[in-house]
């Protein structure tokens, strides 16, 4: 049986496990017994049999040995934690600085985690959200090759897809009303903001839970409405809303057929009221491919490749309206956007709600990582700087037989203790700051969003990670002490402190980058708010209402009040969405057609808003033929239409795709920033069209605004009995365009304050320890004749040099980052050297403050006392 050279030996893996499991016998004799018996068994009953026996032994041994091992580890861990706790209690200021620093950074980490998961969770709650796509389109002008991508698609697209594409499980089109709608319910009226006019397929594509009514037929009949639960509670109180009638705009009756749950905060599609297409659609050209008024969403059948489907519908418009598109000089291409990526990934014109900003999210995440890094650096520095206080303990532990791995484990346990104390503190901090943070982030978040099992696990993971990152270097460093040297009382100054200084430099460099970043963002926001927009926006009150028939009389009436300096009626006001229509020259010069923003205004609009006319003239009130049949266009439109100069465009005729009307260009207005400074100035056409007058812009005199407002509201209520007065100041309205920047700035400012605080905290802790270590040296220097000033210079010089280095490193980095950030703005403020200098000076001052008090105390101390120290 025993062939030479091929003696059976125990299975390797089992033997390896056995060796781990067996008692710590230096000679491993039991393993030898097992092997010998294995051989006997193999000889007697075969190798297979003995292998099974060997494995059986190992497996039977495992549970008891493992639980035993864990038991003793836990006892040791408990001891480490107890000792760690005593050390913290014995060094309260050290404990406070490190734990507070970690807690602040963990709080930032928590907030980042919450906002990240929230932003990434958008629209994932719909069943089959992976199969739902939005169909958006690009419109390319064949002559000028300008492209425009819009979130809305041609109106007949959804029914066409339903009818002709077998890949489509369901498709829906809906429109979002731009203006708030006022609604009469019995004898009350109310305004609602978020109104969708939708097909019933909405409920097939999206998962919208019904409280009352049925998703199958809620919006199939004409004149039906579905309301959200909160709207029902607000306006119907305890009554049953189903079957009741809402008078939309006071005249159109809609029967409530269902109540649905409110759309969650992480939905990009938010609504309070859903109305059936019919009868609103009776006035709309629902078969017009050129009207891109509807959002179109499709749910594909399972297992289909969206890319293949997308390529099949890209040119679908050509199947139906190829000649018209040729005539308009346009090319339509449809494309798919996965539902889940719309919130962060889609930045088209006419988004349903302002999309999330992935860049801001990335910056926030990066800043969070940096803040965590700063706190970890602090921790490492403090541990190393204080190492002398632990040296004796470590030496004694080693002398009585502690192994290095055991010491490392002990220090890591201590660090984790601190990290978890910090986590507990940070949860308290989070609860305190979360409401404010949610407000800044523009999201509905509560502490309940933090206290979810998944996120708690994430936080514990983060804490473990931070604890490990902070603890591993100090643990290796401290456990490396040579007991003999320490116990003999050799030099107790921490060795290799270059690392500590490097870390201080990095910390301050990060702080400097943050400060410069904030200053540049602030400058850009100020730039956008103060910039000359090409029109006046100060003291302009925009009043919503119905002024279609009586605009002139209302204006004349209001202007009798001397506090109202000017008035103009229009549909659009700068800063709000404008509708876009196709416009085309009819002079035959070219086939150029172009989507343009249309403003319906009265003749007072141009002078009231202080818009300059560069060629031709404005509409004339006494020339009634100016209504509808004439246009004033901006300089961008002159260019887009292919005229060489503004003068050349005068008298030319323009065809407009909405009504199919043709009119003459009578004037050219200077470009003004009607969409805010993030965007380039697009072509704009002004038309005198009273049929759309739903806004009145009043220029007010500054003194006594409340009285003027009350006066306007009184007059308005006389004109619109039973309705709700709604007015906003244009500049505030307009600054809302910069809301995203504004909020980001405020959020970022908080992050900066935290980063700088943590860096300063670190410097305070580090300098206090290092100066304490140099007490004797300072004493000797002073006895030998050094002045207090010289000692101060010596001590603070080190730190100041680090901070200067940090500035030198940070400036180019900050410059690069901020340039990239500013790229996104069509109009941007210059990067100013002053911002960099300010960041430099403030960090130097901060560093001086942080180390100053201790330096001064140490330098001014009586040398006799200092030398006696220790």
């Amino acid at each position: 049986m025993n062939v030479r050279g091929r003696r059976p030996s125990p299975p390797r893996l089992a033997e390896w496990i056995l060796r781990r499991l067996l008692p710590d016998d230096e000679e491993n004799t039991p393993a030898g017994d097992f092997e010998e018996y294995f051989r006997q068994l193999a000889a007697a009953r075969g190798a297979g049999r003995s292998r099974i026996w060997y494995w059986g032994q190992v497996l039977r041994l495992a549970p008891a040995r493992l639980s035993n091992g864990i038991y003793w580890r836990m006892i040791l861990l408990g001891d480490s934690l107890k000792v760690g706790w005593r050390i913290l209690r014995g060094h309260k200021s050290f404990a406070a600085i490190t734990i507070f620093g970690l807690a602040v950074s963990l709080t930032v980490g928590t907030l980042a985690l919450v906002i990240m998961t929230h932003e990434l969770s958008y629209d994932r709650f719909h069943a089959d959200s992976g199969r739902i796509h939005r169909v958006a389109m690009t419109i390319t002008s064949t002559s000028t090759s300008t492209r425009k991508a819009t979130a809305r698609a041609s109106t007949p697209l959804a029914p066409t897809l339903r009818r002709t594409r077998p890949e489509v499980e369901s498709a829906v089109r809906f429109q979002r009303l731009l203006d708030p709608l006022w609604i009469r319910l019995d004898d009350k009226t109310f305004m609602t903001d978020r109104v969708l006019v939708a097909e019933n397929e909405l409920f097939d594509v999206f998962s919208i839970p019904f409280v009352q009514g049925s998703p199958h037929d809620a919006l199939t009949r004409p004149s039906t409405a579905v309301i959200t639960r909160s709207l029902a509670q607000k306006h119907f109180h305890h009554q049953d809303p189903v079957g009741r009638t809402l008078m939309v705009a006071g005249v159109l009756p809609f029967e409530v057929t269902g109540v649905v749950a409110d759309p969650p905060d992480n939905s990009h599609l938010k609504y309070d009221l859903l109305l059936s297409l019919d009868p609103l659609s009776q006035n709309w050209s629902m078969d017009n491919w050129g009207w891109t008024g509807f959002y179109t969403y499709v749910k594909l059948k399972p297992g289909l490749d969206p890319a293949a489907f997308a390529s099949r519908i890209r040119g679908i418009a050509d199947l139906y309206v190829a000649d018209k598109l040729r005539q308009w000089g346009e090319q339509y291409e449809f494309f798919l956007q996965p539902l889940e990526s719309i919130h962060l990934g889609s930045h088209l014109t006419q988004e349903i709600e302002p999309p999330g900003n992935a860049l801001h999210l990335m910056i926030l995440l990066g800043a969070t990582a940096l803040i965590l890094f700063l706190a970890i650096v602090n921790f490492i520095n403090m541990m190393i700087a204080r190492s002398s206080t632990r040296a004796k303990e470590i030496a004694v532990r080693k002398v009585v037989g502690s192994r290095r791995s055991q010491l490392v484990r002990r220090f890591l346990a201590e660090t984790q203790l601190m990290a978890f104390l910090a986590l507990a503190l940070s949860l308290v901090l989070t609860a305190g700051v979360l409401p404010r943070f949610a407000e800044l982030a523009g999201r509905h978040l509560s502490i309940a969003d933090v206290l979810q099992p998944g996120r708690i696990l994430g936080l514990i993971g983060l804490t473990l990670l931070v604890g490990f990152a902070a603890g591993v270097y100090p643990a290796l460093y401290l456990s490396g002490f040579r007991p003999v040297r320490v116990l003999k009382g050799a030099d107790r100054r921490p060795q290799g402190f270059r690392l500590g200084k490097t870390l201080v430099v990095v910390q301050f460099a990060v702080a400097v980058i943050f400060i410069i970043g904030t200053l540049v963002v602030a400058r850009q926001i100020r730039f956008m708010k103060d910039a000359d927009l090409g029109f006046d926006k100060d003291l302009k009150l925009v009043v919503a209402g119905n002024f279609r028939k009586n605009a002139e009389t209302v204006k004349a009436d209001l202007l009798k009040n001397p506090a109202i300096r000017g008035a103009t009626a229009s549909w659009n006001v700068p800063g709000r969405l404008a509708n876009t229509l196709l416009a085309k020259r009819v002079d035959g010069g070219s086939e150029a057609g172009e989507s343009m923003a249309f403003y319906y205004v009265d003749p007072d609009f141009v002078p009231e808003y202080g818009i300059r006319i560069v060629a031709g003239r404005n509409f004339r009130k006494d020339t009634l033929t100016d209504t509808l049949n004439t246009y004033v266009i901006n300089e961008a439109a002159v260019k887009a239409l292919g005229f060489a100069s503004p003068e050349e465009s005068l008298g030319q005729h323009l065809w407009e795709g909405g009504s199919g009307r043709t009119g003459a260009i009578i004037g050219v207005a200077a470009n003004f920033h009607f969409k805010g400074l993030q965007n380039v100035i697009e072509p704009l056409v002004l038309q005198w069209n009273p049929a759309y007058f739903t806004n009145l812009t009043l220029t007010l005199a500054a003194p006594d605004l409340p009285k003027t407002l009350a006066f306007i509201e009184r007059r308005w209520t006389d004109l619109h009995p039973g309705q709700i007065f709604k007015a906003t100041f244009l500049d505030r309205d307009f600054n809302r365009l910069y809301g995203s920047e504004d909020r980001f700035f405020r959020l970022f400012a908080v992050v900066v304050v935290l980063a700088v605080t943590i860096a300063a905290l670190g410097l305070v802790g580090l300098s206090s320890v290092l100066i304490a270590l140099r007490t004797k040296e300072i004493g000797i220097r002073k006895t030998l004749g050094a002045s207090t000033a010289k000692v101060i210079a010596l001590l603070s010089g080190d730190f100041l040099r680090s901070v200067l280095w940090a500035n030198g490193l940070a400036w180019p980095v900050a410059y690069g980052i901020m340039r990239a950030w500013l790229e996104r703005y069509a109009f941007r403020a210059p990067i100013a050297a002053a911002d960099f200098l300010l960041a430099g000076v403030s960090t130097v001052a901060l560093a001086f403050l942080a180390v100053g008090a201790q330096t001064f105390k140490a330098a001014a101390a009586d040398p006799v006392e200092s030398i006696r120290y220790e």
Partner: protein, 107 residues
């Protein structure tokens, strides 16, 4: 004085009989042979450990051998106390059996 278990008694006897070869494997083989039952290695280790702890046995290490994967043996031997207790057990056994007629002839 606590009485030892039967297993401990058997192991002490086996150690005494095997002398210089009294390590785990032969111990087990002998006990299996005499009792006719399969004893696991673990059921030998446990009483061995207890006996060492109580000072009835001590042990020494021998040279490594190849069939043990190059590991040394731990060979056990009786201590003075062990020998004394073994005699005591013999004595107790004898006294318990005294006056009992031959069991195999009983019927």
């Amino acid at each position: 004085m606590k009485l030892m278990t039967r297993a401990e008694e058997l192991i002490l006897l086996a150690v005494w009989r095997l002398k210089d070869n009294a390590y785990c494997i032969p111990l087990r083989t002998q006990i299996c042979d005499i009792t006719g039952e399969a004893w696991s290695l673990g059921s030998i280790y446990m009483p061995l450990d207890r006996l060492v702890k109580r000072g009835l046995l001590d042990s020494y290490l021998t040279e490594a051998t190849p069939e043990r994967g190059g590991r040394r043996k731990r060979v056990y031997r009786l201590t003075e106390e062990g020998l004394r207790r073994l005699r005591e057990m013999e004595d107790i056994g004898k006294r318990m059996w005294e006056g009992i007629p031959n069991l195999s002839e009983e019927r």
